[in-house]
Point group: D2
Chain length 354, copies 4
């Protein structure tokens, strides 16, 4: 083949998932694997689930400045990728799994992450209108992360269709613990998280501005969204429950007698039409709700929606694997587009269950 | 002493928790333990965690018609307690852990559960205004279950204070699997639930009318609430994320410059004042969010709130143990009041963690 | 291409894992999918993690009598596959994931499973000496299940080398809950298994005769093995801890001064030599012990061994995914050999972690 | 009452469990709570499950030198308690939950833990012959920890009775993650441990010498024991599977025709006689095996045994809560004896399940 990929931050959970996917990718060879504190360590000491990397050793992140790879994946903590990107050889393609190059508004960046804004790259969510073509011709792509992927894919079709009122979205999204990364913190110990659900960063999570940016773009007007993240006792998976009031237009044209102007079929019809032909988005059959376990290790998003007529709210639920479609899988999907390979190469829509 | 309690439905999870609490209760003896399909079985075959009941055997539910107990707990599936209650000796005190006697509106009952409405008993949530006194003088009490307890305790103080707009409440509440009971169903197998989050009965859960009834009573007007239950990979615990728009009155009197007329301290101040002196409700210190693991085996509700100024929403989060404060613990708390014993006897505010 | 596979018992956990693997297998098409109680149901209602089977419906098991498939996988409960196998078209290749055709001794079969012994097929564990060649030319293969795979791969090299005394093997093996199958039983509910470890069928598990048969064959004499299975709170994975006393020969030839005649390197050296070149067996680097999480969804066995000089015992630990190498993956590996396809097609050595 | 307890290491998991038990203990007041890195922190920030300690703050460990407490619990990491004990006021009673004062042999201590041996205190396992009386009159007690408690209580009766051959004991014991303590380590992250079983410190765990010391004492001769610890995906609980060959005496006197001279009833009979009247040891009815979930939060040990005639091994399985009977509960049980209070005060035999 000839395409080689290097990875920065290869020792983290996102990096590990990327390596798993690349090992099964027939069109990409694995090149330099860089890490910070794990530099010099055996890759399989950190990722014992990847025995085919036995013998490989993490290099220093700085070594990537001389990489001969065709594409570099940056799987670094938020705020670290811009500096590494600046050192990479000119002309190399780059996919950033971090947040550094996702926000347009420097002030939004600063409020959410602190530090200087690094600029904005092509937003790597191929299912959004026009995005696929843009990604194909980009050599710098910022792949969105876990919460933004789940929530945006659930709500963009509805705000884009004017089916819901964008001024009062309410989202509660629960994530498995790998979303919090691999650094050793007491509150992430197994003893603490098993048997536990807890809300965190309520109303202040750093991913909200990115979700609002995406939704506002397709709504054509600024959206307002309450966002409560919840830490759930499982290693992977995001379940996002997204609610919105049906829009006035839909209500006034109520042909269906719900009092809302919309019923579940109207809403799922909008979702189905929006994602028609998408390889990694499935609007489930009526009556079946998304399960995070169905997405484990897969690049698939499962969606379902209903209209709660009594409460006057549309409810859309999305499930993804936060490390695959929410990180590494999406990055590979973008890379496939950038490299001119079939978009689904090396990715699966099937989950590992039970 | 001298008080003896009988239990119907003693073989279920709620029944088992009740037995655990009664074994540690210095003022109540355990009398007849009745079950349906488990009648005749050794209690410790079903509840091996209760070795002090070694030698005890479940009797038929019908046997309770001749019980000499002073108080009977009904821990039966919804729709079964009314029939059993009708057979009990006259004058015996009864606490129903099921839903049969909670709703005032027969039509709401029929829509939610089907079958005929059995009537309405004193609502057994001592923390609600006036409830404690009413429970003390009742000999028939309907103790509310898991979701109603968590959501009502989170939102009643705010709707009662007029601090939030009751017309568009949005609640997403995740429950451990014991909330679904002990009957063998494929979708509740460990293989299915571990690693899985899934929404269910979205917009149609049978507990919504009960929550709406309680909130409407204290709001002084009908409330509207979107309610999405989520099944979480843990045996016990409920985490309810409850959001509401701040009320117009609060916004117009905005002394605090948030644009909302309320900040987190205002909201937690309302909660603290409402629950002042309550033995089993704790509004957490600022910055600490409720964790279900902190409530395991305890009768305590943990609450925290904030105002999401950007989204224009108040967010209140409640954590409880669904089998304790959400079922058996609340029932014992009510029984203590009915029996003239100290309200906290046999109950603990401490959880078992980690 | 042209190879089509049918599956009996396609609605179970082993069946589901088989379908997941076959969906990713470039050389096998999925044909008839048969089930018993789920016949007529949508495949994705039972296996929502396999969205690419949307639209497929389970047929009755009897329909397989007319299957045009080239190979049939029997993923049925123990004792059911012989009857189905008898109805299959002549000449079709069959891989049985059940126990029906694994035991040579009809009496051992009857003691373990009851009912009549159905006969003995080629034993489908390619890593055993001579087995690969035998499988290649067989059209009836009995693929060993979870415990036999883990324990046999751990101990066969040592008993075959005469390195351990086969008369007093002691094995404790813990399995995830999917090993108990998908039928709804109270003791397998999530509420029961999460947070719980329990031993079961101590000294009487039906898989012991199969393990003893395999070990005895390679030991060249009857082995005696204490076998304690443990149910562990995770959906998948087996961790088998296998201990044996070093053999007298090894002790008398003690060049290493351990008093045992063997140290960890001697033992791991035997394992490494035995499995040299095997695609799905990894003897881990010194100091790293197998983790079940590293094998999730992979067909790989991870092994590590040491000599406990103080206790006079060799300890070998094996980890596998019970549904993959312990069931469906092994069956696909056998099928690849039977079909003349590369042995690793459609299988991965990488696990999905964390 | 008047008895006050201080705790060193009160911020760890063992310390937290101790506080939970002391809060429910009618005869002990909670005095100084000391911690190292958490000194100065709010107790409920570290232990949010103990709301009744709201307002309490951890003091420095050095402050205990001036404590006015009647009894001090040392819940410190192994190797740290001797130094703290040396600073305590003369005459104060001390219960050490760490290993520092458990081993008689200074060399065994050094091999297992390093550093100098601090001496040997009364061994705090009241169920051992003579131990209860010794503890009552001691003011320095070393309460044994998790693995030693589970394994010793399983095997002491059998080695003491000469029913098993002490020269080749094989134990595999799995522990929940809280056994590894509360310090932040990557391998203990929830993402790593959920879904994972792994063996560790195989043949070299630091608790083996203590178990061997106890078993040898009651066997009357040195025992040899292979010991493999396993880390299990649950916060609490130990399941110890202990096997031994029946002794020659028992075999030669085989009245029961098993070929072993012993059957399950013989073995469980020995256990039942040994623990007759013990409040916290339960030999389960025939056919029921111990479950760790049944012991959660309880001070109870559940035991069951059988004879595997085919393998020639006795198998005894023990389940405990590692933080309660395996640490804090046992310490409170010892303290009750030392203080002349009823032995079971503040302790429960009931578990919290499911």
């Amino acid at each position: 083949m000839g395409v080689t990929a290097a990875v920065a931050g290869a020792s983290g959970y996102g990096g590990g998932e990327l390596l798993r996917l690349l090992l099964g990718h027939p069109g990409i060879e694995i090149g330099d694997l860089a890490a910070n504190t794990s530099a010099g360590a055996a890759v399989t000491d950190v990722h014992p689930h990847l025995p085919d990397l036995e013998g490989r050793v993490f290099v220093d992140t700085e070594a990537l400045a001389q990489t001969s790879a065709d594409i570099v994946f940056l799987a670094l903590p938020h705020g670290q990728s811009a500096a590494v990107a600046a050192t990479l050889p000119a002309g190399v393609r780059v996919v950033d799994l971090g947040a550094d190059h996702r926000l347009h508004d420097p002030q939004a960046w600063q409020r959410a992450y602190g530090g200087e804004h690094a600029g904005t790259w092509t937003y790597g969510m191929p299912e959004l209108p026009g995005a696929r073509e843009e990604i194909r011709v980009s050599n710098r792509v910022a792949a969105p992360g876990c919460y933004p992927t789940a929530v945006s894919l659930a709500l963009v079709p509805l705000v884009a269709a004017g089916a819901v009122d964008p001024s009062d979205l309410v989202v509660v999204a629960a994530s498995g613990t790998s979303g919090a990364g691999r650094s050793a913190k007491t509150n992430l110990l197994g003893s603490e998280v098993m048997g536990d659900l807890t809300a965190y960063k309520v109303g202040s999570h750093q991913h909200r501005p990115e979700i609002v940016q995406t939704l506002s773009r397709y709504a054509g007007s600024p959206v307002s969204m309450s966002f409560t993240p919840v830490l759930a006792p499982m290693p992977r998976g995001i379940l996002a429950t997204c609610t919105a009031r049906p829009s006035a237009e839909i209500v006034s044209g109520d042909d269906l007698g719900t009092g809302l102007g919309a019923d579940a079929e109207t809403i799922t019809g909008i979702l189905r039409a929006f994602y028609d032909g998408e390889p990694f988005v499935r609007v489930l059959p009526a009556g079946r709700w998304p399960r995070t376990s169905s997405t484990l290790g897969s690049n698939c998003v499962h969606l379902q929606a209903t209209v709660d007529a009594e409460a006057g709210r549309v409810v859309v639920v999305a499930a993804i694997d936060n490390l695959t479609k929410g990180a590494a899988g999406q990055a590979v999907q973008c890379a496939n587009l950038m490299l001119g390979q079939p978009e689904t190469t090396g990715l699966s829509a099937q989950g590992v269950a039970p």
